[in-house]
């Protein structure tokens, strides 16, 4: 159905390349698919009203997180969406920090270039993909595309699975916060609310979750998408 949607003309090259790239084959063993993990910092939680302030990304190739392929950028918010004093307490970014950062129409093509042909991985898709979607719609009238995996959804998948096995009375409250999940998987936790650190924590959580599948044989990309897919 994507093909029938009218695509705006005059898209920047990275954007059209992103939209045209073949999707990773779901039948691939999970390790053979390339992934990009993304996390954003924003002025608030509402993609329609709030602005992007920073983007952190890190790639996973052959099942390994590539620190040499990490990326972090601040984003200059539009003049009509100043940095909300409430959110400063969360991400610690001040107006002057982002004053000279590249604006959204420079950042988004760069993000899409990095995402081209890769599986997107996020923690809580509503926020991260929501902001990406809002920016892409506004700038180019296009939508982000899958495949994409939500580690919160994967966590929920495992927790539900565990509850099914255990019946009720499980001691664990379903907690889907990134930090709590990373800690319960025995992962090192980086200082939170920095887009790059959170992307890295998400990437490590993702690998830990995949290893849960590996206990039952090598999963394919399809298996991960079934359990944690979040975007068509």
């Amino acid at each position: 159905m994507f093909l029938f949607r009218r695509r705006p003309s005059n898209l920047p090259e990275p954007v059209s390349r992103y939209l045209d790239a073949p999707r990773p084959d779901p039948a691939l063993p999970w390790r053979d698919a390339p992934y990009s993990v993304i996390d954003v910092e924003t002025t608030g939680l509402n993609p329609r009203r709030d602005a992007l302030l920073a983007v952190g990304m890190v790639d996973i190739d052959e099942g390994r997180i590539r620190m040499d392929r990490r990326w972090y950028t601040l984003v200059r918010p539009p003049d009509d969406a100043p940095v909300n004093p409430e959110a400063i307490r969360v991400h610690g970014l001040l107006p002057q920090d982002v004053e000279h950062a590249p604006p959204l129409d420079e950042v988004i093509p760069a993000v899409l270039q990095r995402l081209t042909g890769r599986v997107l991985v996020v923690h809580v898709a509503d926020v991260d993909i929501g902001f990406l979607r809002q920016a892409m719609r506004r700038l180019y009238g296009v939508e982000p595309r899958g495949p994409a995996i939500d580690t919160a959804r994967l966590a929920w998948h495992f927790q539900r699975h565990q509850r099914l096995i255990e019946g009720s009375g499980s001691e664990q409250e379903p907690a889907l916060q990134l930090r709590a999940l990373a800690e319960s998987a025995g992962l090192p936790v980086f200082p939170e609310h920095n887009a790059f650190n959170d992307a890295l924590t998400t990437a490590q959580l993702f690998l830990a979750q995949v290893s849960m599948f590996e206990a039952h044989g090598m999963p394919r990309l399809r298996d991960l998408l079934r359990a944690g897919g979040c975007l068509r």
Partner: protein, 623 residues
Amino acid sequence: MEEIVRFLLEHPPFSQLPLLQIQRIASAVQIEYFGQGVQILTQGGKPASFLYLIRRGSVDLLRERNGVVEVTDTLSVGECFGYVSLIQGKPPISTVRAREATLCYLIPAALFHQLRRDYPSFAQFFARSITDRLEQALQQRHATAAPELFQTRLRDLITEPLVTVSPDTPVREAARRMREAQASALIVDLPPYGLLDAGSGIVTDRDLRNRVVAEGLDYNTPIAQVMSAPAITVPADCLVFEGLLKMIEHGVHHLPLSDGGQIIGVVSYRDFLRLQSHNPLLMPQRLVRAHSDADLRAYTEQVTATVGGLLDAGARVSDIGRAVAAAHDALLVHIIRDAEAALGPPPCPYAWLVLGSEGRYEQTLRTDQDNALIYADNAPEGAEAYFEALAERVVEQLVRCGFPRCPGNVMATNPQWRQPRSVWQNYFRQWISVPNEEALLQTAIFFDLRPVYGTLDTEASLRPIILRARDNRVFLGRLARAALRQTAPINFFRQLVLERRGDQRGVIDLKYRGTAMIVDLARLFALEAGVPDTNTIARLRKSANHSSLSETSAEELIAAFELIGLLRLRWQYQQLRQGLEPSNQVEVDKLTPLERRELKEALRAVAVAQRAVAVTFQTSLIA
């Protein structure tokens, strides 16, 4: 990023590099996560293309030689592997396998080689360890293995020739044969000769002295009249330690060894002494000569010291428990006999009961007393006063020997727990028919009773009532629910769930959230299967396949019980050595990676068994 830099700064050889280089490494590493059991490198396989630095978890190095795979080393956080293969450009000389879920930082080969070129100290760090690090590790493991007691088979201790006589041999003739052969014991063999059977007896030096000379028997008396039969024997291939336990349990000094139904020789207490002259396990001996309080106190101290010796020697906790039970029982009997000597003979049959861990043969370090007294119904006038006085004396003496009074007052000095048989029977019936909180608490203590002294047949009086509880579904369900009150502290990622609050932070209680959970499960399964034993391992072993417990699950629980028990005991002993009060709260970071992994596996086995119990007994449905 900063996190990786910080980690590198803490671990040699990276910590010796300039900060700029460390930042360079941090921005070049790749991060990989290996699930438990994943093979990271393969001996003789593809050469490594990274240096692996362990960030979380641990790995085993395995080496195959002549078809035998051996764990040569275990590496944990901050340690590296893969460098031998990287430096030589050859296939790995060891297989590396994740012991537990493990997170590694991978440093690309090119960067590793460049760092070795540029920083001699970095190069040296890896060069030095290549040579024979693996060999060293292997040798170390062998060197720390258990000493003689746990490696020698009983058959290797035989020094005396086997002397066998027929039952009608006159004692004088038998003594002559012993002198000729310089043997301290002889086997009296009934037809069919040469076969070990109920008629096979043993006569020792001591028997000749005590039963012949001291009694003034005619030297032509047939030897069969003074022999001990049937002789207590052990298989010749048992470990020396097991033989020692058997001797202690039965209070004998000679053990005939059997092999394929034949007695092939006799080992004596002296043979053990020769092997382990300093081993204090031969303690009940000392009791015979113990008269003063100080003697008794010294004896209990010695038992505690022995536990340490056994631990160091690699004994299983269950064996230690049995040895300690034998030693403490001997002490208890000694104390009760003293009391009887002072108070006069008991007015009616009675029995002294030990409860809880002592009742299960699972006491390792001295703990609070848990005891009770049962006496015959229709006791004569004054019996109650007699047993009160007896209980006071015994409990008091135990306190002097270092066994504190029970804070819950579960002791024979408490009139509630010093009752005639019919009252005890009613107690049990009441607990089973009205299984409220209080009753469940009592069953956890009193179902594990064991008589240590006395002539009243406790087992015949009480055990049938206990075992009849298996027909009471409500009671079983309640017991199951009580057994699940504590859940195994392990989560879905197989990580330990630690206390997070206050001074309990980072600790795990290896009793309440460890051994006690297995004890409770075993009590439940034993009841379900109608097994009368009190020992947890015996309960599990005997109720497998006769209850909802499968054989595999039983084996896993037994292994888990031994392991958690061992960790707990080692921890407590270490505290004792440091002059601290032993506690069950183990600080998890003080465990080695190996111990931590084993603990996780053990707790996982418990979690699996608990889930099965929850399903079988529908514990969530019982209000």
